[in-house]
């Protein structure tokens, strides 16, 4: 018999992520659309924003552009989203 050690990350008990509660409805909510700058991602998100407005009653949407697709959203837009939006749409599509 032999004992071996786990090579994977085990989340430390002290590490937690504080999630904002999910809204129960989108009616009247402000939406942030996070654009990764790939071709046509702005068009796709604009369409999503318009559907959320027409069919789910969100009050407004605003698009935020990342510096480029390969880097995380920068602090300025994260701070702006925190102030001016209730929900956000972020994703990646190639």
């Amino acid at each position: 018999m032999m004992e071996i050690l786990d090579p994977t990350t085990e989340a430390a008990a002290t590490q937690t992520i504080a999630y904002v509660p999910r809204p129960t409805a989108l009616q009247g909510k402000r939406v942030a659309l996070i654009q990764n700058t790939k071709y046509n991602s702005d068009r796709l998100l604009e369409r999503i924003g318009n559907i959320l407005k027409a069919e789910y009653g969100v009050s407004e949407w605003r698009m935020y552009n990342k510096h480029n697709a390969s880097v995380p959203a920068h602090t300025e837009i994260i701070e702006e989203v925190k102030k001016s939006a209730d929900v956000m749409v972020a994703g990646i599509g190639d």
């Binding site: 004992e3 786990d6 994977t8 990350t9 085990e10 480029n68 390969s70 190639d94």
Partner: protein, 345 residues
Amino acid sequence: MAATLTSKRFTARDEADAIEMAFDRGWSDGLPVVAPTEARVRAMLEAARLEPSHQVGFVAHRAVSITAEKVAINAVLAGCRPDYMPVVVAAVEGIADPRWSYHGPGTSTGGAGVLMIVNGPIARELDINAGDNLFGPGWRANLTIGRAVRLVMRNVCGSLPGLLDRGTLGHPGKLSYVIAENEADSPWTPVHVERGFRPEQSAVTVIAANGPHQFYNQLSNTAEGVLTTVADDMRISGSVMGQPTYVVVLAGEHMKTIAADGWDKKRIRQFLFEKTQNSYAHLKRTQRMSGAIASGDEQKMRPLVATPDDILVVAAGGRAGAFSCYIPGWGSARSSQAVTKEVKR
């Protein structure tokens, strides 16, 4: 009393059972591993003189702390010798550096490998290959150091192929992609010295990179002739519009031909920078750049990389053969930059 290892422990019947457990638990890259026993893991840590809880790197985007203990376990899995551990640690520091920007190359459909160029005395001490069969196979250090880094990316940072690592094609260098510079025969300034280190220091440079592209020139006996060939190959390569870092690896025969004409690395870079530019018209005709061809587009040139310094020149590869290669970096220089870290011992 040595510090406690805090990783979860599993019991295997024997070495063969441990290998199967590693496959079953998703710890392996697809090849058998060495069982990470406490004694083997401690030997790794001692070789690098690191406490298990020491933070080698913190990948901010993933909120992942990479501890020396986890690096050591993965280095054992990969088959490293304990004296390789300082190189693995330096490379992991490199990929966790914000300039390397893990977020992109650790995940992208673009399928980046981590090209590692080892310089300084440690390369010779550990027999990290800088010669024949440069990219493999045949050398334990080259194959296991890179494998250890990729296992850290998989097991610690979560870059699991098909999940977080969405490489469309990937490439064989994603298993291991380690070379040393042939400093013994090179007439040029080594990579690490160009990047701010002293010749007697050891260092590893990590670059998010596509696979190597070999080129052939047995005809020319001038620097300009050989480099004209590689420039013509490079001009349309990689993502062209991305303007990443390029690595040009000059092997024995080409190295001698180019050096005999008195060209240094700076002159090589400048030449390649000038000779790898594409016209806007060509980029538009070949659907690499959007938009219709405008007047002046035939003359308007776009460089392959942003500056000549984005081309790294490395002396390495076998002594015989009129072959060398170039390696397109992944993405762009603004998405991920080459990072050089000292190998601390």
